[in-house]
Amino acid sequence: MDLINDWGLTVTVFLPLVGALLIGLVPKANEMAAKSIALVISVLTFLLSAVLAARFDFGRSDQYQFSVDTTWIESIGARYHVGLDGISLPMLLLSTFIVVLCVIYSWNHWEEPRNPKGFLLLMLILATGMNGTFVALDLVLFFIFFELVLLPMYFLIGIWGDKTPRRIPGFARESETRLYAAIKFFLFTLFGSAFMLLGFLSLYFKSGEAGAKTFDIPALTELASTNPGLFAGRYGWLVFGALFLGFAVKVPMWPLHTWLPDAHTAAPTVGSVLLAAILLKLGSYGFIRIALPILPEPAHTWAPAIGVLAVIGIIYGSLACLAQTDMKRLIAFSSVGHMGFVMLGIATLTEVGINAAIIGMVAHGLITGLLFFLAGSMAHRYHTRDMSRLGGNQKLIPILGGILGFTVMASLGLPGLAGFWGEFMSLLGSYNPLESLSTDLFRVLMVFGAIGTVLTAGYMLWMLQRVNLGEPSEEWLGHEFHDVDRYELAAWLPLIILIVAVGVYPHLVLGATSDAVTTLVDNAFGPGSAVQAVLGG
């Protein structure tokens, strides 16, 4: 079946777009048709990606499979090059999978002004952007997909977002939360990506000094390892800085994170889920796929800074969580902390660390995605996210409460569930970072990271106590709340199962990534790098 080899990835990426077009043709009133199309398309996309995974040769997960490399914009040297390796495979699956769940969840959860047609249409466009980013192997293509997610997300937040007015410091007029958040999200990301684009272009022309100019990620990676001096020095430092701006905004890393709490708070449930589960990963994926392998030498220089910012993010995010009253905002800040672990892993520049980052990304996608689902469903029922008004949820809506409890446990990194591996491995990596990095610094970071886990447990359990436990406040007396319905269950159960599965059997992720990461690190930082102080020599 060469069809799958040649077209599999392309169809996986663009099928949602076709779905979006189809939905666009459906009259607005026919909600059922729009939903059905979205469901069928997203399921098909997921199945296709699953087929790809099934046919994926894990024995050579460090090589790009199902590659397509064809002309696209010849005159500027950009090509349509997509491929799947062990690093992108889990991300692609995560992306296609979460979209399915989001469609299912959306079946009967609509924020005002409803309009399922528009919502699902945007969501499918978003899916194309996300899938595309994870498989793109050309910098320009990557950039396009990376940016493609902006528009739909802007509208998802802006149209279906939170409509409570909010006073923005520095501005005279009140603005609805959704409006502020949407434009903030958009401007932040665009700001970063403008510089990222400059970086990409610069790489392209620099690559001309050692052969043909190219935007091709594998080719550039190859170039970086064969010509170590090419992307180095001041030049490399600047270019890495440009890429850093682009990716770090998306991750988001402290102090570029402030769009995130606003965006999450304002976004509709599904928007939050997609944002947390996948969009944030685009940034960290960019680091792994592009910044590290192509710019290994500058990565050295930057790694301590990234590590420090990551740990600041962990501690800072946790502390900020403790001051929140809004449940979604709390979860949003928790993302800052969790992504801090991901970035700490990346900053170590070691195999362990990068594996940690990937599994951390997957886990965060599953767990925080689920958390936002839950928060959304609760807000749906209580019409408030204010934790001081919630409480006793476990009593009022027991199954939902139970799932919330489970997810909180997963989120605080309980061993045996998915969240643990990322945190643990990232600490493991930072104990002995790449040889040339300051071991002392990273060990200090490790300790702070570990303290961060306690704080994480702190705010998570605190949230659980405030929301789930205790007697329900009198406000809710006499209210009947329906417990988890079947759409919610259908959307959440797979996540729960996966959280446990990855927790019990991390091979699900690491099995794909490990070899790919090893090759990546070997190429970028030389074989035999890292961890010398072993076995007493």
Binding site: K28, T71, W72, I73, E74, S75, I76, P113, G118, V140, F143, I144, F145, E147, L148, L150, L151, Y154, F155, G158, I159, R178, L179, A182, I183, F186, L187, L190, F191, A194, F195, L197, L198, L201, S202, Y204, F205
Partner: protein, 494 residues
């Protein structure tokens, strides 16, 4: 001395000439309620003019006439194509707009065609005189068209302001040209270039080049020669504004680039820093001013000022860095082509929406998406394309711009690149504000206009063409790189 005239090479111009005379004559005989036939004729004429263009393009040979003062090469052809397509779109936009108001239709189309003719001539000009005449023919009818809403004080004002500043710029341009002629004794660009190269440093050359640059700066509405633009855009009939912001600006750019690139590349030490400043100020000033606009057309005016700044970036940075101008040249031309399509689309939307909302204020657009989703989508597409968001065409324009900056390298260019990057973000804000009004704001209870107003067929066609182009070019930008490649011909020839 006798000169051969290649009629095929001149065929597009001749077709337009025939059309505009036809329009003038037809207008005499048509009863008032059937004046729209002049529009039909104009549309047909512009379409027909594209036929020889295609033939010439297929032929591909460079045809040079009159001692090289009039050249039809691929560069001229693609630009003529651009002018024709843009003119075509403006004509489509005009039909219902002009019909609906009390306009002199025949004269309107005649003047528009004259302007198109001027731009066609200009694209082929390789000689100061031809260039000047072409440019004047492009601009002069627009002075009149801007005032075509005769009863409207704003339109009057638009016309007068545009006219006075226009003639001022013409005078400065001419003075510069006269100096250049005095210094070189030539008007044909290639000859001029040889002389200029021999001339070396000369303040008079600098003054000459800069005065010409000022003249072109007016046409492209670059800061600080932009002042006319907002008022004129606001006052002029909207299709004319569209034409002003696209064809006229493009013509100005083409003139500027041909002269700088073909005639005085060796005086780059004079014009490069000036262009750098103009680019930086245009972007920043235009964008910052756009932030404050409430009127959609004024906003587009300032946006087009900023866009002009972006368009100058490649050339400015390449010249400042002393790099090869060819890449920069093709980048600017590509930008110009993409800008033309998306900006015309934006204006088409503005025209269509104005019917529905009955106001030019951005606030009036609130909730457009709820009662007219198609227009909402189109507005979103065009404005985000202008902002440079993939996968809409605008991204590629921004991309080639940044690309050429990076090719140039050097500190001054990096500074310009950073200014451009920051400006991209600022620009997004006000473009997004429009889409915010369209989608995120609730529709007011009652509108001044007729929400159920149907968008006329010709306008739909214009919208459709520009939308398709915006999207297709965004996804397969290779299409527009033909502009870039063609413009390299200009460099190769010289």
């Amino acid at each position: 001395m006798s000169y051969q005239i290649d009629y095929l090479a001149l065929a597009p111009e001749l077709v337009i000439i025939a059309t505009l005379i036809g329009v003038l004559i037809l207008d005499l005989f048509l009863p008032r309620n059937q004046k729209y036939w002049t529009a039909v004729l104009s549309v047909i004429g512009v379409s027909l003019a594209a036929v020889p263009l295609v033939l010439l393009a297929v032929d591909g040979t460079t045809r040079s006439m009159f001692d090289g003062s009039y050249v039809v090469d691929t560069f001229a052809l693609v630009l003529k194509g651009l002018f024709l397509v843009a003119g075509y779109l403006v004509l489509l936009m005009s039909v219902s707009y002009i019909e609906s108001d009390r306009y002199y239709q025949g004269e309107y189309y005649f003047l528009l065609l004259s302007s198109i003719l001027g731009s066609l001539v200009m694209a082929s000009s390789r000689d100061l005189i031809v260039l000047f005449i072409g440019l004047e023919l492009t601009t002069a009818p627009l002075f009149l068209l801007a005032g075509f809403r005769k009863g409207d004080a704003k339109s009057n004002e638009a016309s007068l302001k545009y006219y006075i500043l226009g003639v001022l710029s013409t005078a400065l341009l001419l003075f510069g040209m006269s100096l250049l002629f005095g210094l070189t004794g030539e008007v044909q660009f290639d000859a001029v270039r040889e002389k200029v190269a021999a001339l070396g440093d000369s303040p008079a050359l600098g003054v000459a080049v800069l005065l010409m640059l000022v003249g072109f700066g007016f046409k492209v509405s670059s800061v600080p020669f932009h002042f006319w633009a907002p008022d004129t855009y606001e006052g002029a009939p909207t299709p004319v504004t569209a034409y002003l912001s696209v064809n006229s600006k493009a013509a100005g750019f083409v003139a500027m680039l041909i002269v700088l690139y073909r005639a005085v590349p060796d005086a780059a030490n004079y014009w490069a820093p000036a262009l750098w400043l103009m680019a930086a100020f245009s972007m920043t000033w235009g964008n910052l001013s756009a932030l404050r606009q409430r009127n959609i057309v004024r906003l587009l005016a300032y946006s087009s000022i900023a866009q002009a700044g972006f368009m100058m970036v490649p050339f400015a940075s390449a010249a400042v860095a002393g790099a090869d101008l060819t890449e920069a040249f093709s980048a600017t031309v590509i930008y110009l082509a993409i800008y033309a399509v998306m900006n015309l689309g934006a204006f088409a939307v503005v025209i269509a929406v104005a019917r529905k909302t009955g106001t030019g204020e951005i606030d009036g657009w609130a909730g457009l998406g709820s009662y007219s989703p198609r227009l909402g989508v189109l507005a979103t597409a065009f404005f985000f394309s202008l902002a440079g968001i993939p996968p809409l065409a605008g991204w590629f324009a921004k991309f080639v711009m940044f690309r050429s900056v990076i090719i140039a390298g050097g500190v001054a260019t990096v500074v310009l690149a950073v200014i451009a990057a920051v400006n991209t973000v600022i620009a997004l804000y006000y473009y997004a504000r429009i889409t915010k009004a369209v989608w995120l704001d609730p529709a007011p209870a009652e509108a001044a206009g007729d929400r159920d107003a149907r968008t006329s067929g010709s306008l739909r066609l214009a919208l459709g063409i520009s939308a398709v182009l915006t999207l297709v070019v965004g996804i397969f930008p290779a299409i527009v790189t033909v502009f870039g490649d063609a413009s390299k011909v200009l460099g190769a020839a010289g």
